[in-house]
């Protein structure tokens, strides 16, 4: 089921109104320097007023059963507003990992809490290098009782994870760890014994990241043993499309900010937007934003339709939106001149977010090959 255009417009305007009220720049700046890096009251309102955590979770697991198109609208708005909240980690990474596992029991156990906004969650994949390559996963899972550790039918995880979004605050951590069967997905409680999480210093303070140390942490297998690689691939496509929506929203905001400044700032007796250098810069930004938005929205639609073109479209959206956001975030500063690189001006917050989003899943050094792979080239 895909909402029609007018329903999407309604959703967009409800989310935008909410975020303008609850996540204005002052709130973002305050949360950037707080622990936790989000406001639990706003998170609760996001659930109560807009039911957003459950938007894209199937109805059978307590959600509203919408899909990537509707989620994309929400993420575009969150990207515009630089909302500090555990939404991406919980709803995109964690919930999708559970769904991708095909483990109905785990879905029934874990998703209703997420849908209800009661559980925040995250997914821990990358280790030292930040790579999502399943071959580079070295965290280990052993059965309880194996190797003399603990007892019973569960598992124990040992190793280190990095770049875990909202990793210090998540109630539920999904962890990819290696068994003899290969990389596999596990669920771990946020406060589980043996699990320590410490904040990492980040380029983009609006997206908290943590380093996790797991020392024989009790865990539950999600999906089948050894299915981790396949789950990671599915989550990566989905998360690329979701991230692309955030990036597209952020880059349109940069374009709008730059164009507004170009229309109103006067130098040499003219609005600076009447100078061709500024005008063409804005036109170049517009071209990038239109491409990015089309790529992101089309990928979401193809995902919702279950189209065979979806994996390619996910790759295209990831590259097009990464590039557009970085470009518009840079050029927005340039159009603003000196004021644009002050701490007080919001332009740098978008610059930081743009760079951190571009590199989140590996960046240009890996995403080109990933796209060609999806194209069969």
């Amino acid at each position: 089921m895909i909402a029609d255009e007018s329903e999407l417009d309604e959703l967009r305007s409800a989310v935008r109104d909410f975020l303008e009220a609850k996540s204005p720049e002052e709130a973002v700046r305050k949360l950037m320097e707080s622990e936790p890096r989000y406001d639990p009251a706003v998170w609760a309102q996001l659930t109560e007023q807009l039911r957003l955590p459950g938007l894209a979770i199937p109805e059978e697991y307590g959600g509203d059963g919408f899909g990537p198109v509707e989620l994309g609208v929400v993420l575009e708005e969150m990207g515009r507003a630089l909302l500090c909240a555990p939404f991406f980690a919980t709803v995109v990474l964690a919930a999708q990992a559970v769904l991708a596992s095909g483990d109905a029991e785990a879905c029934a156990r874990l998703l209703p809490g997420i849908a209800a906004g009661a559980t925040t969650a995250t997914l821990a994949v990358a280790e030292n290098s930040g790579s999502w390559d399943p071959a580079l996963i070295s965290a280990r899972a052993v059965r309880d009782g194996e190797g003399g550790v603990g007892g019973g039918g569960g598992w124990r995880l040992t190793g280190r994870k990095g770049f875990v979004i909202d990793g210090t605050t998540a109630d539920l951590v999904l962890v990819v760890a290696r068994t003899v069967g290969g990389p596999s997905l596990f669920a771990v409680d946020g406060p589980a014994p043996g699990l320590t999480a410490e904040s990492m210093e980040t380029l983009d303070a609006t997206r908290a990241m943590a380093r996790l140390t797991l020392d024989a942490v009790p865990a539950t297998l999600i999906g089948s043993d050894g299915a981790g690689g396949r789950i990671m691939a599915k989550v990566l496509d989905y998360a690329s499309v979701a991230l692309a929506a955030e990036q597209s929203g952020g880059s349109r905001r940069c374009l709008e900010t730059a164009a507004e400044y170009a229309r109103t700032r006067h130098q040499f007796g003219r609005p600076i937007g009447s100078f061709q250098a500024v005008k063409h810069k804005c036109a170049d930004m517009l071209v990038q934003v239109e491409l990015a938005e089309a790529a992101s929205r089309e990928a979401a639609r193809l995902a919702a339709e279950g189209s065979p073109d979806y994996p390619v479209a996910a790759g295209v959206a990831h590259v097009a939106c990464s590039r557009a956001y970085m470009f518009t975030a840079m050029e927005n500063i340039q159009v603003h001149g000196g004021i644009g690189f002050t701490w007080e001006h919001p332009a740098h917050l978008y610059f930081r977010r743009a760079k951190s989003s571009q590199l989140l899943f590996g960046g240009p050094a890996v995403y080109s090959e990933r796209l060609l792979d999806r194209l069969g080239i």
Partner: protein, 414 residues
């Protein structure tokens, strides 16, 4: 609205299914088989070109007889009386079929000159020429650009001087496509050299067989000649062939220019579609043993992102059309990207080919790419330079202010 469009789309498909076949997949191919031409400009031998024009006229006549000859035109001239969105939707659907290329008739004549005649010509000219054009009998060209008036059309200097009931035209026009096939041309002339430049222009409909009209092919850098210069020497045109007021030709010209438009999904069509096909490009890399060069692969991925994202932009515009909504800036953006993507593709491929792009070894599908490479500079200039298109995007979509009128320029403007 969406329902109406669906009914219209269904009608279009019934008409097309009845007359023509679906287009073959232009991106499907087998390496080494068939014609490896990558020409953006056609440059056919004269007899083939005449045959192509004949087929275009024939298909236009069939469209006309079935109510699709002039979708936006008024019924009294054989039009259908529908909206520009219907027109764009028709084009988009037709592009899925294997029909004759009617560009010779439609891009300039039916798309731009027809609406101008409708808006500004005296009744007898309308009665005669409009049905003739949309039935495929008459071809029209645009006698606007001059060597000294390119981006700045209002600077035309071709003179028209009153002589009794006639006007006598003298001057030179340039970049006139299809002039060699045209029966009529719409000419902008200077009738008052003393007025501000936009206020001294008059428009005339010039029968191309009038004595003194000379069409000379203009050779472009690819070596072919897809445009013309048109020399007007003491060309005598009756006053009843005037469009609009004397000295009011700028308004006429604006009507013509406002009817210039991109069609949705133009990248998908044409003989150069192969240039942007992932399969074709990866086959080329295999054939040149560069398939595993990650530096080239990285650039291929960058190029394909542009190409595929542009396709997504077009797909979204098309979906809007089907819902009866006029597309927004997507179409202007798509037009700009069309030239940029082909330019990137041509240079990427030349890097893949290396020396094989600079001398013909005879290997299939290699040196042939130079035809496209040599056409790419034109793509950034024809139909509005990249600079003019960026001005338009920034001013019309983003609302950025125009350049202030300078004191020098102000004197000669209205």
């Amino acid at each position: 609205m969406e329902h109406d469009m669906q009914a219209f789309a269904a009608e279009v498909r019934r008409f097309l299914d009845a007359h023509v076949a679906k287009a073959p997949d232009r991106t499907a191919f087998t390496w080494g088989e068939g014609d490896d031409s990558m020409a953006y400009f056609s440059s056919l031998p004269p007899e083939e070109e005449r045959e192509q024009v004949r087929r275009a006229r024939e298909w236009q006549r069939i469209r006309y007889e079935n109510g699709f000859g002039w979708i936006t035109g008024p019924p009294e001239y054989g039009g259908r009386g529908l909206t520009p969105v219907h027109d764009l939707l028709y084009d988009a659907i037709e592009s899925e079929y294997d029909v004759a290329d009617t560009g010779t008739l439609s891009v300039i004549g039916l798309g731009m000159i027809g609406p101008t005649i409708l808006a500004h010509a005296p009744q007898p000219l309308k009665d005669h020429w409009l049905p003739a054009m949309y039935r495929g009998d008459a071809i029209a060209c645009q006698l606007f650009s001059e060597p000294g008036a390119g981006s700045d059309l209002a600077s035309v200097t071709t003179r028209a001087v009153r002589d009794g009931e006639d006007w006598v035209l003298n001057g030179q026009k340039v970049w006139t496509s299809v002039a060699q096939h045209s029966q009529i041309g719409l000419a902008l002339t200077r009738t008052n050299p003393d007025a501000p430049k936009h206020r001294g222009i008059t428009a005339f409909l010039v029968p191309m067989d009038t004595p003194g009209v000379e069409v000379r092919p203009l050779r472009q850098m690819t070596g072919g000649a897809d445009f013309n210069e048109v020399f007007l020497t003491d060309v005598r045109i009756p006053d009843d062939h005037r469009l609009g007021e004397v000295d009011g030709g700028w308004t006429v010209a604006l009507t013509t220019l406002m009817n210039e438009r991109a069609t949705v999904g133009s990248e998908g069509a044409g003989p150069v579609a192969a240039a942007l096909s992932p399969d074709r490009l990866s086959a080329l890399m295999r054939a040149t043993w560069t398939w595993d060069d990650r530096a080239l692969r990285g650039r291929l991925a960058e190029l394909l992102v542009d190409v595929l994202a542009t396709e997504h932009l077009n797909a979204r515009a098309l979906r809007k059309l089907h819902a009866g909504v006029a597309p927004g800036p997507e179409m202007s953006v798509s037009k700009l990207l069309y030239g940029q993507n082909l330019t990137k593709a041509a240079h990427f491929v030349s890097d893949v080919l290396g020396p094989r792009a600079i001398a013909d070894t005879g290997q299939w599908g290699t040196y042939a790419w130079t035809e496209l490479l040599l056409a790419t500079p034109a793509l950034r200039i024809l139909g509005g330079t990249e600079e003019i298109m960026k001005n338009i995007l920034a001013e019309r979509v983003l609302g950025l202010p125009k350049e202030p009128v300078t004191t020098a320029a102000k004197e000669v403007r209205h």
